[in-house]
């Protein structure tokens, strides 16, 4: 891990509960570092399930589009990647900013646009939840 962030414990437990229930795994398996799509084997309907469960637990609504928005940061497709949809320097720099664990030097193959969601971890979702919770409270 290139960087560690302190995760808010209540938010982490909420995310772990939602992930475990949606994927039918033990909450202990849903560690902060685990990627939802890679390590935990989630599919898109699973992510929807996770987000609705999270909404029921916390009352905070996060849409799949919010996650996509975080990952791409409003950068247009053509500036985020090249014509083969391989994420370029602009895209990688943005990802390093929003995903603390992401380190481009660790990539074993070029990162494609489709692969970006695969970087998203339980910890990243926890940070997003915390951010949303404080935004709602403010």
């Amino acid at each position: 891990m290139s960087a560690s962030v302190t995760l808010q414990p209540n938010a982490l437990v909420a995310v772990q509960t939602a992930v475990a229930d949606a994927l039918g795994i033990d909450a202990e398996e849903a560690v902060a570092e685990a990627t939802l799509f890679g390590d935990l084997g989630a599919e898109s309907i699973d992510l929807l399930d996770v987000l609705f469960r999270l909404e029921r637990i916390t009352g905070v609504k996060i849409a799949v589009a919010d996650i996509a928005g975080l990952l791409q940061g409003g950068i247009p497709d053509e500036e985020f990647g090249d014509e083969n949809e391989v994420v370029n320097d602009t895209g990688l720099t943005h990802l390093e900013k929003v995903l603390p664990q992401f380190d481009r030097s660790q990539l074993t193959e070029p990162l494609t646009a489709d692969g970006v969601l695969g970087l998203f971890t339980v910890g990243n979702l926890t940070s997003l939840l915390t951010e949303r919770t404080s935004a709602a409270a403010a």
Binding site: A22, I45, D49, F52, R53, R56, K61
Partner: protein
């Protein structure tokens, strides 16, 4: 006194100004649900249904919308939700027919029927889904027909629309089950309403009745009772089901007798 089964529920019934939809609205209200009574053009009829529910001590509102239009359907759902303060039951009942032999009909005679019978259910389902999935406990009931599973001369377009609705019911059910949303259908047999008055006119329906194992037509209340069952907690473990209320019609092989 018997316990009402839908006390904290709010339901939207499409096409509830007349016929089967009206009976469903009344039956849901009798179980304590607040009901949005949708109609397409007959506002007066819808208001009569609302008054009837109110007179019996229930809560109801009338909301006009053409469910074949996706924008209108979404507005219908959001208005119903606002007026009732929530929504956890959707009954897709609005339906039309346009009977003719395929040979005689215009080449696009399937489209209007499809747009209401299947499109309406798709649009309304789409519109309620985010809130139903977030609630984690909600029910969708599609009013379909035995015609969707078997052939009938002169109703190819109608049968196709109901076949689509039945297939949609199964697929939607498996897709949203994990979100606590159930999707089922009632496959009604012949039920005397405006919709089938033409079919039943010829000989008062005698020729058809003779082919139905129970030898009689359904009442709108019998179809409504099945819809209430599928909408409520008694069917809590049932999803993706196509429940026949057809007098044994679709259980029978051919004419069913020598």
């Amino acid at each position: 006194m018997r316990q009402m089964k839908l006390k904290n529920s709010a339901a939207l019934v499409t096409g509830a100004s007349r016929g089967i939809g009206r009976a469903i609205a009344l039956a849901l209200a009798a179980q304590g649900a607040a009901v949005a009574v949708n109609y397409r053009s007959r506002a007066q009829d819808a208001h009569v249904v609302v008054k009837e529910i109110e007179a019996a001590g229930g809560r109801a509102v009338a909301v006009g919308a053409d469910v074949s239009d996706p924008v209108a359907a979404a507005e219908l759902v959001s208005r119903a939700t606002d007026l009732l303060g929530g929504l956890n039951i959707l009954v897709n009942n609005a339906g039309i027919s346009d009977d003719a032999l395929i040979h005689d009909a215009a080449p696009d005679a399937w489209w209007d029927v499809m747009k209401v019978n299947f499109g309406g259910a798709y649009h309304c389902t789409h519109a309620v889904l985010a809130s139903f999935m977030a609630q984690g406990d909600a029910s969708i009931v599609n009013i379909s027909s035995a015609m969707g599973e078997r052939g009938w001369i002169g109703q190819a377009n109608y049968a196709a629309s109901k076949g689509a609705l039945n297939a949609f019911t199964r697929s939607a059910a498996v897709e949203v089950a994990r979100f606590g949303v159930r999707v089922n259908a009632v496959l009604a047999g012949f039920t005397p309403t405006d919709l089938v008055s033409e079919v039943l006119r010829r000989d008062g329906g005698k020729g058809i009745k003779r082919q139905i194992p129970l030898r009689r037509f359904a009442t709108v209340e019998q179809v409504a009772a099945a819809a209430v069952f599928l909408a409520g907690p008694d069917s809590g473990y049932t999803t993706g089901e196509l429940l026949c209320v057809d007098g044994g019609f679709s259980a029978q092989l051919g004419i069913g007798r020598p």
